[in-house]
């Protein structure tokens, strides 16, 4: 096709798409009179429009995943590294492929883990790994896999470790929920391993079912100490990273393998300690008991939300005869605040041991029914603390409006549950996802109630009014301010739970009213955000060049557009002044609660909104200036939040 034809193509394409399919043929005939090429191309494009379906909708990076890592290299079978002869491929471990090998010197089977070549690039990490792995191994704890040797041959780094004949806890869980006595036994042994390691000052950082081996004789062996610390988030690009550890300051966007087991502090990229391992063990224990993870989600941020915000579904809802004490143990292990977990892993191991013994005793006492008590059935499919767009979030706030004055939220901390209050790093990932739409701006002729086509002579004779505004936004985390406040033009994308103040100034004096319009289940609701009793003595009057800073308001759970009407008027607005006393009560908290009040506000906004004004955003200073002619300016600020 010629360039001219191509240029024509898109215009005709869009025009034709607007038409009913039956009309398109005629349209093509008409517009491609003697251009058969164009007609054919266009008709094929229109057909392709339907056919294209989801073409290119799924982002490129997700299409390419099968070409990531190499498959285990069969050619390695039979090869010898130092005195280890590779016999067969066992599986893919947290970091590299694991082979069964013969130790030719000692004549025993070992598991040989070959680390990817990239591993060698970072000597510092390698050294740290060796140190940790060796010291864990040096505890010589029966529940910790012994590392025999760490070495390098032919440029490949390897770990020779005890060969554990058995299955991973992962494959055991896949066969179904594990009866409490057995699950406790596994947890107890894992806790023993952790207690030994923690005593030696080593944190595992990557407790998950894949790292827990169940030997056929009932022994539990914990794998891969030190590997988690090898997570290549900085200089490395190798395939070393099936572990969730997030070093500080590393956004977790690409660390995804096992986020379900991450502790809240881990999702935030904070420094980990032995209590982080306890959390992960709690997740594993829960999963053993009910067969599902306590914190789930469709995507990584969703999982993080679940970890940070949600309480797992209580065992009692998922199992018959769930021992109450088991729930207590889980509650303690899965305490969001690590201060509330066990203050030593030995203590945890002790408690699990006692509890396990008691369960066994109970079982014996009820002998004859032992098998029954050992097989607890799931009551219902797990609806764990799953996070996702389709499910209403756990929320402790009234659902009336998406913006609530802080004063209506008591207490001010703790209760400020927000749907997507994520870790700092996660917030960082999502904050920038969308940018707000600039509001429609109109200006109003209060005297005439004139139609939009007012003759210019009249409008120009009216006085000009103007104001500018900006927001002060405070990010929040765990009900506490997170980092410094920042100025915002209102076009950022905010998180539920965050707070903002509205700042306003004008070269003229006048009367300011801020009305929040928010959707609720029962329709639209209106809230008076300004004037407020606590600011400016409940007066709408603002002096020229006075900067008015509102109360803090908080984005509550309802995601979407938050409308704030700014009304700037030379005179007081009669309708609003009349209602002020009714809505600025401790009970109403600024809400226009009865239908008549709402009608009044709706009509007022509709009538003011006939007018025209102009808004200009000064992006450098994050301020928006609004101007227009007439006595009253109205401007709509739409804040997006989620």
């Amino acid at each position: 096709m010629t360039p001219e034809q191509l240029q024509k193509l898109s215009g005709l394409y869009h025009a034709a798409l607007e038409l009913e399919p039956l009309q398109r043929e005629a349209f093509l005939q008409k517009h491609c009179l003697d251009d058969e090429d164009l007609r054919r191309e266009l008709s094929q494009l229109l057909a392709a429009n339907e056919e294209a379906g989801t073409f290119l909708i799924k982002p490129a990076i997700n299409l390419n995943r099968e070409i990531g890592p190499k498959q285990p290299d069969a050619s390695l079978i039979g090869r010898t590294f130092d005195h280890y002869r590779i016999v067969s491929h066992l599986g893919t471990g947290g970091m590299g492929e694991v082979y069964l090998a013969m130790d030719e010197k000692l004549g025993r089977k070992i598991a040989l883990k070959l680390l990817p070549a990239e591993f060698a690039n970072d000597q510092e990490r390698l050294r740290r790994f060796v140190t940790e792995a060796k010291s864990a191994s040096a505890t010589a704890h029966p529940n910790i896999v012994t590392i025999h040797d760490i070495g390098e041959a032919e440029g490949i780094h390897y770990i020779a470790q005890e060969f554990v004949e058995g299955e991973t806890l992962r494959s055991r869980i896949e066969q179904g929920p594990i009866p409490p006595p057995e699950a406790l036994n596994i947890a107890r042994q894992t806790a023993n391993a952790l207690a030994a390691a923690h005593d030696a000052g080593i944190v595992h950082r990557d407790i998950k079912p894949e790292n827990i081996m169940l030997r056929h004789d009932g022994f539990v062996k914990l794998l891969d100490f030190g590997l988690a610390g090898m997570n290549p988030t900085e200089a490395m690009s190798g395939d070393l990273s099936n572990s969730p550890t997030l070093p500080k300051n590393t956004a977790p966007g690409v660390i995804m393998g096992t986020v379900n087991y991450m502790s809240p502090e881990q999702t935030r990229g904070q420094k980990l300690d032995f209590r982080s391992d306890q959390w992960s063990l709690g997740v594993v224990l829960y999963e053993m008991l009910v067969g599902e993870r306590p914190f789930q989600g469709e995507s990584m941020p969703d999982i993080f939300v679940a970890i940070l915000e949600r309480q797992p579904v209580p065992l009692a809802e998922l199992m018959d005869d769930a021992p109450a004490q088991l729930q207590q143990v889980l509650d303690k292990l899965l305490a969001k605040n690590r201060e509330q977990r066990y203050q030593s892993s030995a203590q945890l191991a002790d408690e699990l041991k006692r509890f396990h013994h008691r369960l066994e005793l109970d079982a014996e006492r009820e002998s004859g029914q032992v098998s029954e008590s050992a097989t607890l059935f799931l009551k219902q499919p797990v609806q764990a603390a799953k996070s996702g767009a389709t499910e209403p979030p756990v929320i402790s706030q009234p659902a009336h409006t998406a913006v609530a004055p802080i004063s209506s939220i008591q207490p001010a901390t703790g209760e400020l549950a927000a749907v997507t209050r994520l870790s700092r790093s996660t917030i960082a990932l999502v904050v920038f996802l969308l940018v707000a739409v600039i509001a429609v701006v109109l200006w109003f002729l209060i005297q005439q109630k004139a139609p939009a086509t007012v003759p210019p002579t009249i409008t120009e004779s009216l006085p000009e009014r103007s104001f500018h505004y900006w927001l002060t936004v405070q990010r929040m985390r765990d009900g506490k301010p997170d980092r410094a406040e920042f100025p915002s033009s209102g076009r950022d994308f905010y998180e539920s739970g965050w707070r903002f103040r509205f700042n306003f100034a004008s070269p003229q004096s006048g009367h300011l009213y801020l009305i929040n319009e928010g959707p609720t289940e029962n329709g639209v609701s209106y809230w008076l955000l300004f004037p407020m009793p606590s600011v400016n003595e409940a007066s709408a009057k603002i002096e020229a060049n006075q900067t008015m800073t509102s109360n803090w308001f908080q984005f509550t759970k309802d995601a979407g557009d938050e409308k704030i009407w700014v009304i700037w008027s030379a005179e007081t607005i009669r309708e609003l002044e009349a209602l002020k006393a009714d809505v600025l009560t401790p009970q109403a908290q600024g809400e226009f609660r009865n239908p008549q009040q709402r009608d009044t506000v709706r009509r007022l906004l509709d009538s003011l909104n006939q007018s025209k004004s102009e808004a200009r955003e000064d992006r450098r200073n994050m301020k928006t200036a609004v101007s227009g002619r007439g006595d009253t300016l109205i401007h709509l600020v739409e804040l997006k939040h989620h």
Partner: protein
């Protein structure tokens, strides 16, 4: 946080084209690292939005206190371009490594395959995009941002300083055109 990158971004925004030349390799390195790290993590069921990579790179590289909305949009646009380079390059190398294999063969006999298949031929797509760019350069950029950069409609609109509606319109045309273009190539190869 790279103060240098922030500075370069600001200079570039102020019209200093040479700043871009210095900026590009820095952003490229970071994105490559993030993308590789992601691509190697193959066994997970979770899917990552590439926009997270771009956002992550942005957060790591740019001091947000110093830049504005507009700079961010530019950064995203730049990153999408880099993501395209990275992914196409990745496909090219994988293609070379598997020459003779059928991993990259493209058959469009089933409509869905091209959309869903992990075997979408990025190399062919890349060539088709170059064709598209000859008469619709902006459409091509939109594909770059949406498909390779994973940017939302809104982010794309910002980065290109055009309206949402225009992005949606152009995105529709570009997707359809590319689909048909690839399909006709595929059909002619089969015959």
């Amino acid at each position: 946080m790279e103060e240098g990158i922030t500075k370069l971004l600001l200079q570039w925004s102020d019209g200093d084209r040479t700043a871009l030349d210095r900026l590009l390799p820095l952003v490229y390195d970071e994105l490559r690292r993030l993308a590789q790290s992601y691509l190697r993590r193959h066994r997970q069921n979770l899917s990552l939005q590439p926009t997270l990579l771009v956002h992550e790179a942005y957060l790591k590289l740019v001091n947000q206190e110093e830049v504005n909305w507009n700079n961010r949009a530019q950064f995203f646009g730049l990153s999408a371009k880099i993501m395209r380079d990275l992914l196409v390059d990745h496909a090219r190398r994988a293609h070379a490594a598997k020459r003779g294999g059928d991993n990259y063969s493209l058959s469009l006999s089933e409509a869905d395959r091209i959309g869903q298949s992990p075997n979408l031929d990025l190399l062919a797509l890349n060539e088709a995009m170059e064709e598209l760019a000859k008469f619709k350069p902006r459409h091509c950029q939109i594909v770059e941002m949406r498909f390779f950069g994973g940017l939302t409609i809104e982010e794309t609109a910002e980065a290109l300083a055009i309206s949402h509606a225009t992005v949606e319109r152009d995105w529709n045309f570009a997707r359809t055109w590319l689909y048909r273009h690839l399909k006709s190539i595929s059909d002619s190869e089969q015959n």
